[in-house]
């Protein structure tokens, strides 16, 4: 009951950002699909083939700006993760409500779990569901000349999971009591490093392993910091 009360409170605080992220994703996805409809009419025009190297390396470069959807998904999930972390961990410091929150008849672990659960739910609801709906619609036969790859769907979820890494990185920075020009931003910087390393990956499984390792590094520090931190 206590956990549910905490979770409800956190979800209620996250609601405006969750809705904003979902709206941005849904709106832009709709525009992309609509744009493709326009391109489809151009589909029957002669295609130019290079005489020397007609093998194309990019998929859907002309038919659908799927890469833009990916970029949007990345920015939205990272942005949402960042904002949620700030809302949950930095704003209470400014508003000085930590003392009220910590002095609940529940453990600090439960309080932390409530915040984490709310963030994960927010990411899934806003980014995950919109992405899944977009992919389901875009995979309908006859819409695109080649169906979207299953791997693309998995990659979208990897990108959303990276939003979680950004969230935890920001949480760690927010909880740090160091000065901002020293090590306070290291949590966020580490999330950035993880992203750079992800770019070198080919294997989805390895990507997931890297994300999990980053999450373990971040979450273990967050838990330890939160349980021992002074408010």
């Amino acid at each position: 009951m206590r956990f549910l009360a905490l979770l409800k409170k956190e979800l209620r605080e996250a609601l405006p950002w969750l809705l904003l992220a979902a709206f941005i994703l849904a709106f832009c996805s709709a525009i992309f699909i609509g744009e493709y409809t326009r391109w489809r009419r151009d589909f029957d025009e002669p295609a130019t083939m290079s005489p020397r190297s007609p093998v194309r390396m990019d998929t859907f470069r002309e038919e659908l700006q799927l890469r833009d959807i990916g970029t949007l998904l990345l920015y939205t999930s990272c942005g949402l993760g960042l904002v949620l972390a700030v809302r949950q961990f930095l704003v209470p410091s400014f508003l000085k409500t930590w003392a009220f929150t910590i002095h609940r008849s529940t453990s600090r672990t439960t309080i932390l779990l409530g915040k984490f659960t709310a963030a994960i739910i927010a990411l899934i609801l806003s980014c995950g569901i919109i992405w899944t709906l977009f992919f389901w619609y875009a995979s309908k036969p006859g819409l695109f000349p080649m169906p979207l790859r299953q791997r693309t769907f998995a990659e979208g979820w990897i990108i959303i999971t990276f939003g979680l890494v950004m969230y935890f990185g920001t949480v760690l920075s927010a909880l740090s009591t160091a000065r901002w020009y020293t090590t306070k931003m290291f949590g966020l910087a580490f999330a950035g490093c993880t992203f750079m390393l992800l770019l070198l990956q080919v294997s989805l499984a390895l990507c997931l392993v890297m994300i999990i390792i980053s999450l373990v590094i971040l979450v273990s520090q967050i838990i330890h910091t939160f349980l021992n931190r002074e408010f």
């Binding site: 589909f43 029957d44 002669p46 295609a47 130019t48 083939m49 005489p51 020397r52 190297s53 007609p54 093998v55 194309r56 390396m57 998929t59 799927l66 890469r67 833009d68 990916g70 970029t71 998904l73 990345l74 672990t109 036969p141 006859g142 819409l143 695109f144 000349p145 080649m146 169906p147 791997r151 693309t152 990659e155 979208g156 990897i158 990108i159 160091a178 020293t182 090590t183 290291f186 949590g187 910087a189 580490f190 490093c193 992800l198 770019l199 070198l200 990956q201 080919v202 989805l204 990507c207 373990v216 590094i217 971040l218 273990s220 520090q221 838990i223 330890h224 910091t225 349980l227 021992n228």
Partner: protein, 534 residues
């Protein structure tokens, strides 16, 4: 054990790893920025040119022969082709025979001689590294190959997309319906029967004018395929079973048929890791294994094929090839490059059974490099290089052994990019940022340790931790010291008993073991406890 204590065992190393990674990156970036800024705004790089010594006539002749191209005529006659450039432009081409008699020069009109043309290495296309790059997970999603098939009106009617996970192609018509699968054996309609090609190595593509789809030469670890998307045909050109393809060269395989050179036979030459040399001919497909002598060690081999004859050229030398380990290069250079070596090129004809029949050989003496060039192992004398030497003094001492572990061969810089990005990144970083001025580097490391010692002495809570951090600083130098400082800069105060500094992380002073003093009691204090409320 409660959660608070349990997480300590994971979070403490996690925090150290995270902080260290970031500081390593920060230090690298700052080093790179300093070197780059000096390179940008400093004076340009200065390469000291060694003065060219005066050569005797005999020496000039040896160098001249060394620099000439050695070409064979189909009858085995060898010609030496000298190319003279003036101001970077080609001026004169002279053709000599083996006795250095001038046979023809470019002023006399067009060259009447038609030399054997050798198969060229298959290049371009998409190799393993590029394929990995395409499949890299980015915000733009991974990409893959797709091959379009057009009709006579030049409209795309089919698309064949390569699925890296499944390792075959899937075909779709223009409405997105699946039309079939192209695997290692054939084009098939049933997914269950599609077989993977094998571990991908390279693909090159070309299109004939009368074709509405490209053809692919698909190379895996031990197979070579030709895939024709218009005819829907997968042909296994070569299957090595348990051997692996090392390199491929081809002659006219992809050339447009309307420009045939009737003299030449179309083929692909494959050299394998186990030392086999195989030719694959087209129209019809035939395979021939060449029995190359063991002493050639598979090096310096080139193939040419006419309609009636097949030739193999071998270039050899007394000199040993340079070692891969860069630290052995100087010794190798002293041993081999300061002496002249007998060098040769020989032509053999390949018989029907693959055996070789010797035709001709040309030998010459390759002069020692010191005859013409002054080679110095000193580093360049310019500001950027000097800056690098000083700036890298703060790098981690581990960079040098890591660089050695990865082979540390700067001559392989074109090779390491073809490997995994991790490998390339590690080699690049350790190569460019490892310390080179060892005395300065060691001094910096010792300085870091001393500062860490001075800082940590008052703050020590246990000997194990204290020693751990000193070793840590020694291993990672500046980045290690910054990490130590970030995680251990706790408050110190003066002990009232002994006057020395002490940290507040422990109850007692590490020097005199005195606890924090009690406050001074005043006569006017009014502490009346022990009386409960009534």
């Amino acid at each position: 054990m409660n959660l608070k204590n349990l997480t300590k065992y994971i979070s403490t190393p996690a925090k150290i790893i995270m902080t260290l990674i970031i500081f390593l990156i920060v230090v690298l970036v700052i080093q790179g920025a300093i070197i780059g800024t000096v390179g940008l705004f400093g004076p340009p790089e200065k390469w000291t040119e060694s003065p060219q010594p005066e050569l005797t006539e005999a020496q000039k002749q040896r160098w001249s022969i060394r620099d000439m191209r050695k070409e064979f005529l189909p009858d085995g006659t060898i010609h030496l082709i000298e190319t003279i450039k003036e101001e970077g432009k080609l001026r004169v081409v002279n053709v000599y025979d083996a006795n250095e008699t001038l046979l023809w020069d470019s002023k006399a009109g067009s060259n009447p001689y038609h030399y054997l043309s050798w198969a060229e290495a298959v290049e371009g296309g998409i190799n393993e590294a590029r394929m990995d790059q395409l499949q890299g997970i980015t915000s733009g999603f991974s990409r893959t190959l797709f091959v379009p098939v057009i009709n006579d009106e030049r409209q795309i009617i089919q698309r064949w997309r390569y699925e890296p996970g499944a390792d075959y192609f899937i075909g779709y018509d223009w409405q997105g319906r699946t039309v079939g699968y192209a695997g290692s054996e054939c084009f098939i309609e049933a997914k269950q029967e599609a077989k993977p090609f094998g571990e991908f190595k390279r693909v090159v593509d070309w299109r004939y004018r009368d074709h509405n789809a490209p053809l692919l030469l698909w190379q895996t670890t031990n197979r070579l395929y030709q895939i024709d998307f218009e005819k829907r045909d997968v042909e296994i050109l070569l299957d090595l079973q348990d051997d692996e393809i090392e390199k491929i060269a081809w002659q006219n395989w992809e050339v447009e048929t309307f420009e045939p050179d009737d003299r030449l036979r179309i083929f692909i030459y494959v050299a394998t890791k186990k030392g086999a040399h195989v030719l694959v001919f087209r129209d019809p497909i035939e395979r021939l294994t060449i029995n190359v002598p063991r002493q050639w060690k598979g090096r310096g081999v080139q193939i040419a094929a006419l309609q009636d004859k097949i030739f193999i050229k071998h270039s050899g030398s007394e000199a040993e090839p340079p070692p891969r380990q860069y630290w052995l290069r100087e010794a190798w250079w002293q041993e081999h490059e300061t002496k002249s070596h007998r060098t040769w090129v020989e032509l053999h004809e390949v018989k029907q059974d693959g055996d070789l029949k010797f035709i001709n050989r040309f030998e010459w003496i390759r002069p020692p490099l010191v005859e013409k060039f002054t080679v110095s192992w000193d580093e360049p004398d310019d500001l950027r290089w000097k800056t690098r030497k000083y700036v890298t003094a703060v790098s981690s001492p581990l960079f040098n052994p890591v660089f050695r572990f990865f082979g540390g061969d700067p001559w392989l810089e074109f090779d390491f990019y073809s490997r995994s990005p991790w490998y390339a990144l590690t080699v690049e970083i350790t190569r460019d940022y490892r310390a080179t001025k060892m005395v300065l580097h060691c001094s910096v490391v010792v300085l870091m340790i001393c500062v860490a010692f001075w800082h940590g002495w008052a703050r020590r809570t246990s000997w194990g931790r204290f020693v751990f951090w000193l070793v840590f600083v020694a291993l990672f130098n500046l980045a290690g010291f910054l990490t130590y400082l970030a995680l251990n800069h706790t408050t110190v105060i003066r002990c009232e008993a002994c006057g020395k500094k002490r940290g507040l992380e422990r109850n007692d002073c590490p020097a005199c073991k005195t606890l924090l003093p009690l406050p001074e009691r005043r006569e006017t204090d009014l502490i009346l406890v022990g009386q409960s409320n009534s």
